[in-house]
Symmetry: C2
Subunit: 358 residues, 2 copies
């Protein structure tokens, strides 16, 4: 029908200047007589005026939009339950402060194109979702002034990113410690995806905790995984081929735990009677598969929510000092880990200073 009304139209209809109209529509009512305010407001109402955010953004040099950037290596959003929960949290927070989200899923190869897809003036800041090791996204940040918060990957501090993530190390330490306290001394491990920092951290915490408690680390029981059910199945086959077996296997994630358990069961090894298994993530998607899995739960929604909050603060304040926020996981004890068979007494932790862990 008719063109959308602009600020000028409203001003004209109200019989005052564009400046006045703009000010009043932005809520600066006290600058003007009540009568003027009323006139402008009703003019806007009558004409069905809605501000053009593009023009506003250009003038204010502020878009009230943040970018939610997927890693080019994560092909699809879908296969990633993590992403959705985080995104939900982000949306929930941003809704409150009237920010919007632009979804950026850079599949393109060229670095140049990738950057211009992200940093082209359309966003005030970005949330990087779990960039993997060596991701081009990390490189890009050096060239950009844009506030950025990384979620789902706790990069080494040297990268200088503000980060919100779960505390992989301490959560895995807690889990491992608990397993040891159940009397286990023969402990296997399934590693996570080799390109994820979280996988590195979980493995490191696992190894360290074993050492602290003087539990031997048996490399042949440490198997490669990649955060998928399939990789858990493969790990099972590999492990069961060996002559001596651990009494428990700690998995870097619930997916591989589920695959591991599945394959073990198929091969006649009963879980947890013959072999205990622990997971990590309390993944709702695998929960129905192995409802009895002992695991670590953490709040991904919260990660997103806090990341959005932090980013929002950085944008508003202009202060981009890197911070890091690590949310604790909680141990969920179910039935998949039984106390170790014979052993009940065993060595106390090596007395360095790795005393009590929160």
């Amino acid at each position: 029908m008719k063109q959308k009304p602009t600020l000028r139209d409203v001003a004209q209809y109200a019989g005052c200047s564009i400046t006045t109209t703009s000010n009043i529509l932005q809520g600066r009512h006290n600058l003007y007589r009540a009568e003027t305010v009323e006139r402008v407001l009703s003019a806007a109402q009558v004409l069905g005026y809605r501000a053009n955010h593009i023009a506003r953004s250009l003038a204010k040099q502020r878009t009230a939009t943040i970018g939610f950037v997927l890693d080019p290596n994560h092909a699809r959003l879908t296969h990633n339950d993590y992403a959705q929960h985080v995104l939900d949290g982000v949306l929930a927070y941003l809704e409150q402060c009237d920010y919007d989200v632009r979804l950026i899923s850079p599949r393109s190869s060229s670095l140049e194109r990738l950057w211009s897809r992200i940093d082209n003036g359309t966003i005030d800041g970005a949330i990087l979702l779990a960039p993997v090791i060596g991701s081009p996204l990390l490189e890009w940040h050096r060239h950009s002034r844009l506030p950025v918060v990384v979620v789902g990957s706790t990069l080494p501090e040297s990268y200088g990113f503000t980060t919100v993530d779960i505390d992989n190390e301490s959560a895995m330490a807690t889990l491992t410690e608990w397993v040891i306290q159940q009397g286990h001394r023969a402990i296997g491990f399934i590693k996570g995806h080799p390109l994820h920092w979280s996988a590195q951290q979980r493995e490191r915490a696992f190894r360290q905790t074993l050492m602290q408690w003087s539990v031997p680390v048996r490399e042949e029981w440490i198997l490669q995984g990649n955060y998928t059910i399939e990789s858990g199945r493969r790990a099972a086959e590999q492990l069961l081929r060996q002559s001596s077996l651990p009494s428990v296997v700690i998995c870097s994630d619930d997916g591989s735990a589920a695959g591991f358990i599945q394959r073990c069961t198929e091969l006649g090894v009963r879980i947890p009677e013959d072999l205990s298994v622990a997971g990590f993530d309390d993944e709702p998607l695998v929960q129905p598969l192995v409802p009895y899995l002992t695991t670590i739960r953490h709040d991904k929604y919260q990660v997103g929510y806090l990341a959005a909050q932090l980013l929002h603060q950085q944008i508003e304040s202009g202060d981009t000092l890197p911070q890091r926020l690590l949310l604790p996981g909680t141990l969920i004890v179910r039935r998949s880990v039984l106390p170790a068979p014979a052993l009940t007494h065993f060595a106390p932790p090596q007395s360095t200073e790795g005393g009590s862990r929160p």
Copy 2:
């Protein structure tokens, strides 16, 4: 460090006008001498120029962005596997034509605010994700000139929306027909979410097919569900309380099918030996729960991809005639539906003309 370079900076550095620079950077190379082109390109290169899309959008009155609009009634993106697959498809298509996606999840109550969140000049078109019956989104469209494609809800034609969806009616008809052909004549049904058009359509197709084949419709076997596992469990309890039971239950979705089966099993009814069950959606999330479920599969990714394509065309061509695209589902036969016990011969379809269905 330094401010981001603007077009003016590049022009100045290259020693030519802004117009020239703009033209060349937009690829109109043939307008200028090769030498000029070279100069501008390298200037842009050296300065690390990246066009400001906000300014571009304002000038061109085109944002190269579409809105992916969730229904205010779908609280979270997460609980919706459908949404993610569609979104993946959308992203995949838009990537190709250099469009971006703005995620709009309107939780606000006020209609006025809702509109201004969507139609504020920041998008060229919108994809409405499965608006429910009575959604304010549908109302909004009347007032707007924005090209819109609805996915996941096949609205009545009278709404005048372009639509991409799976063909609920014919898929459910296919499934029901197949069940009947397995010899079943005592058929129960679990309905979908009462606010979804898809639920209505699936139910209608179910009833119609039964009538076409002169199979009696027993209202006491038609149970309310709402596309969740929990609602399937409730339906099971309700059904099993009855004195006479159907030989098969067709569920409006895999979720309720899974819940139904779960609860039946708990109550000592064996599936499919005692009772056959069919689902709908081939939901990957419940697949591990009931891997033997006979169901209808459809391609949600494709829905998103085609919706984006259609929307893109409408934006580019300016032609907004409502179209509708219904993608067929395919019957996935697994083990959860057995041939009906005694009966092998039964009435042929009523000879209207509901002959063979693709």
